[in-house]
């Protein structure tokens, strides 16, 4: 009887534990990271009596959780990839929105500027058309600067998020280390700390969303976590930190460093995956190239506009001045430089400029130039004064560099900040050409002279009067105002006659004694030739070796952002499916299903009731015996 009671009692206890576990599962049905638990029952071996062994009831061997390290690792890896793409696509979306309005975009601003030039060409003497041109030029600069400002803002957002992510990584690392300690203690004393394990898995998953990790399980139940190129973030109960610090070249750029007892080390380039990886990739793959490209467009715009404007003549009869100003090449010295060298860089050829930044390293005897985007070495030539010349840049070195000194050269990223319209007086717009040509009125031949073009706007004698005379023997000579011969030659119809920095062509048949004059166009307030040329150069190829127009470059800038964003969204969506799959695999194993729990509850309840009934039966049996004895 006593055995029967004990056996039934063990059942009662076991099923009570099982019902408690089911209740716990039901209660945690919506708890993130909770792994459902089960009671492991085992039959208690009975004691053999007279060759018969009757079981001694049931015992609870343990409460274990449904989890699979492999599935968890897969989910972490998928989460890392997804978070990276998500952060990337999110930031790409910011740029994409920046360029979304095609009617107010850079392309439209450029076209408005060109149109305003055409309007000046229609009525060159009209101040209101000139004023409109200046305000369109201002609008163009504002447009470029607002793009730049928003790119800078995006850069600042990236910095802020990296700082926040570094803090999160460090605090998660700290949490994992603490959980490791507690788990090791519990495991050492033979317990299975299910809740702690769940909590640690949850922390590991959170960490994986921030940065790619590798997790190695130890015998004592703790895990070691590595990031980057094997930097030990957590070893047992010890955690290191990831800190945000200032880039060694660029003062307003955040990089990440690994801080442990043995010192601080920059690990930015070795971090991948997670939102940190996504932000870093976005910064180097999209943000920097786009900003440099925008700067390159600004440089080219300034360059071609100024060159043509300076070859024209304004309403005062003066040669045109510079139209736009643009910021120079930025040179940033490395933090650890020990030499006294300073570098100054200038742009020499807009057509050769790239959208890349460069690192210049001194190895003790030579400079090495490397592109930051591709990492490729760049060949350079040494120009006058030892200046390094490459990709449309000339970098002059003064002072002496020490081996290991390095500098960053940014050809275009600072261009737009320094951009402004230099012309403020509408009459200073050089819409006219500086020279005019005329046939002498007594000419008897059929020859005509072209309008002339300026080859060298800086020629001091450009606008001095010159007479081109033809003799009867098929020769011409160009005479200045003192009748000194400046140039002469045999006449070829349509051939170039280059004098004093200008070029004209005479065609047709000049008669002996016929003459033409080339003179200053002062007073030519109705002349629009230079305005037309300005409008034309804006549509000509000036970038990338002269193959790409400003317009096309602006267009490409937008479509590059569009393609990259589209790609990022597609990648993100694809990775989302993988991530969802892996997390539902984990969920499928570890998640609580209420119907299942209801069935379990029924099952355990019935068993519990049966065990209770056994106790009642044992009591009845016992009373039967007692009454038999008493009677």
């Amino acid at each position: 009887m006593a055995d029967m009671l004990n056996v039934a009692l063990s059942g009662l206890r076991a099923f009570q534990t099982a019902l408690n576990t089911t209740s716990n599962n039901i209660s945690n049905a919506s708890t993130p990271g909770y792994s459902r638990e089960r009671v492991d029952l085992s039959a208690q071996p009975g004691q053999g009596v007279a060759g018969l062994t009757v079981g001694a009831g049931v015992s609870v061997a343990g409460i274990s959780r449904y989890s699979d390290d492999l599935l968890s690792a897969q989910m972490r890896s998928a989460s890392s990839s997804y978070s990276r793409l998500d952060a990337y696509a999110d930031k790409a979306g910011d740029l994409n929105n920046l360029f979304s309005d095609s009617t107010t975009g850079l392309t439209a601003s450029l076209q408005d500027f060109t149109n305003a030039l055409q309007s000046v060409a229609n009525t060159p003497a009209d101040t209101s058309a000139r004023q409109t041109l200046l305000s369109q030029a201002g609008g163009l600069v504002t447009r470029l600067q607002s793009y730049q400002a928003q790119l800078d803002q995006t850069d600042a957002d990236v910095n802020d998020q990296l700082r926040a992510d570094a803090t999160s990584i460090s605090s998660i690392a700290q949490n994992i280390a603490q959980l490791n300690q507690q788990i090791a203690v519990a495991t050492g004393s033979g317990n299975t700390p299910n809740d702690l394990l769940d909590a640690r898995d949850q922390q590991l998953a959170n960490l994986a969303a921030l940065v790619d990790t590798s997790v190695v399980k130890q015998d004592d139940g703790s895990v070691n976590v590595f990031i980057g190129k094997g930097q030990p973030l957590v070893v047992g109960g010890q955690a290191s930190q990831v800190v945000a610090q200032t880039d060694q070249f660029i003062p307003n750029r955040v990089t990440l460093a690994f801080q442990s007892s043995s010192g601080t080390m920059d690990i930015t380039s070795s971090l991948s995956g997670g939102s940190v990886g996504g932000l870093l990739d976005f910064r180097s793959e999209m943000l920097d190239p786009e900003r440099n490209e925008l700067g390159r467009i600004a440089v080219a715009l300034t360059d071609v506009t100024n060159a043509q404007h300076q070859a024209g003549q304004d309403l005062y009869g003066d040669m045109g001045g510079a139209f736009f100003a643009v910021g120079g090449v930025e040179v940033l010295g490395g933090k650890g430089n020990t030499g006294s060298a300073t570098l100054s860089a200038t742009r020499t050829d807009t057509g050769q400029l790239t959208a890349a930044d460069y690192i210049l390293r001194y190895d003790g005897s030579n400079w090495q130039v490397q592109r930051t985007d591709t990492g490729a070495a760049v060949a350079y030539t040494v120009g006058s004064g030892g200046a390094l010349q490459f990709d449309g840049l000339s970098v002059a070195v003064s002072g002496s560099a020490q081996a290991g000194d390095q500098f960053m050269v940014q050809p275009t990223s600072g261009a737009i900040d320094g951009m402004q319209v230099l012309i403020t007086d509408p009459s200073r717009i050089a819409a006219a050409a500086p020279i005019r040509t005329a046939a002498a009125s007594g000419n008897t031949g059929t020859a005509t002279i072209s309008d002339g073009e300026v080859l060298d706007a800086g020629n001091a004698a450009l606008r001095s009067p010159v007479t081109i005379e033809f003799d009867g023997a098929g020769n011409w000579q160009a005479l200045d105002s003192t009748n000194a011969v400046l140039a002469s030659g045999a006449y070829a119809a349509g051939g170039n006659i280059d004098v004093n920095g200008w070029r004209v062509q005479v065609s047709g048949q000049p008669a002996a004694g016929d003459s033409f004059t080339v003179s200053s166009n002062v007073g030519g307030t109705g002349d629009n030739r230079n305005a037309l040329k300005l409008a034309a150069v804006l549509n000509q190829g000036v970038l990338t070796g002269g193959s790409e127009s400003l317009d096309a470059a602006a267009n490409r800038l937008v479509s590059t952002v569009g393609v990259a964003t589209n790609q990022a969204n597609t990648n993100r969506d694809a990775q989302k499916i993988i991530y969802d799959d892996s997390s539902s695999a984990v969920d499928s194993l570890s998640g609580v299903n209420l119907d299942e729990e209801a069935a379990d509850m029924l099952r355990y309840q019935q068993a519990y009731q049966a065990a209770a009934q056994m106790i009642s039966t044992a009591q009845t049996l016992f009373e039967t015996i007692l009454s038999a004895v008493n009677s």
Binding site: N566, N593, D595
Partner: protein, 428 residues
């Protein structure tokens, strides 16, 4: 494979995620339908976006070309009006000159003609210095801010330049929006455009008549030969009347070059070029010919030279001077006749010039018309392309929207129904 377990929370969150996704799709489609634009951001369709930018650019450019063409049309119309006014004025002056030439005129009537002509001088100046609606001088070349014709009477000079402003009316098409004043008023070809004959200070009554080119090649060769000579010889011939038989009538002429030497022919041996004169007969040499009437005196000269140009102001001024001198003596009568002949020929040349220029302006205006309709065609084409590239296919988008809404409704219905299912409901 064992059946797949699904956690209750996972099932719920999956259902909710699906509904959220449906809603996001609906929001996107709704945005497309309400704005009518399919490509909302570059990422929606990068290739289309690039094309949209190009098309919008091209349209903006076309728009500007249209404005340019309007400006050109405006100025050309004003130029055409000025040329029409000029032609009318020249015709009136011609009438007056012909009236003066009709004979039976005394000094008084000549004077009154001269007086009217004087008023036409200022009319002519006004046309020449006319400004357009922007205050720019129409006939000043590039120097549109400076009055192009300055001075007075025959000494009127052109201070504008020979520049012709071009306006861009197509990607590779420009049109000139004006004509330099030099061409309109100053460079009027003299005589027949090849050579001119002018009378010296003659005492006879020889009046120059019809001048014509018989053999242009011969004349050009002679002109070129003079220029190629060492040293070059100016192209000026003098016909001098002589009286070799001493009968008191100058019935012969000789030809002298610019240096006063007799011109020799190509014979062997070369002989001096000479001729005999009869009233109304012609004098010809080197491929040119002109008639002479009246009786020149011995020693009277007529200069022949390649035609140059003369300004309308000069022509008008000479005419007024000649009329003012009257026809009181036979000599003055001869001079007046010569001057009237010359003036009529110059006025004719000037009128022809004005008509030709007007034709040219008309041609430019018609090319503007052509360009305008080309622009319209291109613009219509671009608008269609833009619409095809950028716009939503409404039928399709609305169909899509309906489908997505149906999907959402289904997801919501399924969620509420399935969410109610629980085994616990049956445990009572």
């Amino acid at each position: 494979m064992s059946s797949y377990r699904i956690s209750t929370a996972g099932q719920q969150s999956a259902a909710i995620a699906q509904m959220l996704q449906q809603q996001a799709l609906i929001a996107k489609t709704q945005q497309q339908v309400s704005s009518g634009v399919r490509v909302q951001t570059p990422a929606d369709d990068p290739v289309a976006e690039s094309r949209i930018l190009s098309i919008q650019n091209a349209q903006s450019q076309l728009d500007q070309y249209g404005k340019n063409a309007d400006a050109a049309t405006d100025r050309l119309n004003q130029g055409e009006q000025a040329l029409a006014d000029l032609a009318t004025l020249l015709q009136r002056i011609q009438e007056l000159a012909e009236q003066a030439n009709s004979g039976a005129m005394d000094d008084t009537s000549l004077n009154s003609i001269a007086t009217e002509l004087k008023s036409h001088v200022s009319d002519l100046q006004q046309i020449a210095n006319r400004q357009d609606s922007n205050g720019e001088y129409l006939f000043a070349g590039y120097s549109t801010g400076t009055q192009p014709f300055a001075g007075s009477g025959g000494g009127m000079t052109y201070v504008g330049d020979q520049g012709v402003r071009q306006l861009q009316i197509g990607a590779s098409q420009t049109v000139a929006d004006g004509i330099p004043g030099q061409q309109v008023f100053m460079d009027i070809p003299q005589g027949n455009g090849t050579f001119t004959v002018t009378a010296g200070s003659n005492s006879g009554t020889g009046v120059i008549g019809v001048q014509q080119v018989v053999d242009a090649a011969q004349w050009n060769a002679a002109v070129a030969a003079n220029a190629a000579a060492t040293p070059p010889l100016a192209n000026q011939y003098t016909i001098r009347f002589t009286d070799p038989d001493g009968d008191g009538t100058a019935d012969s002429w000789e030809l002298l070059d610019a240096n006063g030497n007799p011109v020799m022919d190509n014979g062997t041996p070369p002989a001096a070029v000479t001729g005999t004169y009869t009233d109304g007969g012609s004098i010809s040499f080197d491929g040119i010919q002109f008639t002479l009437s009246g009786q020149p005196a011995a020693g009277d000269t007529f200069q022949v030279q390649p035609a140059g140009t003369e300004s309308m102001f000069q022509t008008l001024n000479d005419l007024i001077t000649a009329l003012g001198n009257g026809n009181g003596t036979p000599q003055l009568q001869t001079q007046l006749g010569t001057a009237l002949n010359k003036a009529l020929s110059q006025l004719d040349n000037g009128l022809n010039n004005a008509i030709n220029l007007r034709t040219e302006v008309g041609a430019r205006l018609s090319s503007l018309d052509t360009a305008s309709s080309l622009r319209d065609d291109l613009n219509a084409q671009l608008t269609t392309s833009l619409s095809n590239t950028q716009d939503v296919d409404m039928a399709q988008a609305i169909g899509q929207l309906n489908q997505q809404m149906l999907g959402l409704q289904a997801a919501q219905a399924a969620y509420t129904r399935i969410g109610q299912l629980s085994l616990f409901d049956y445990l009572r």
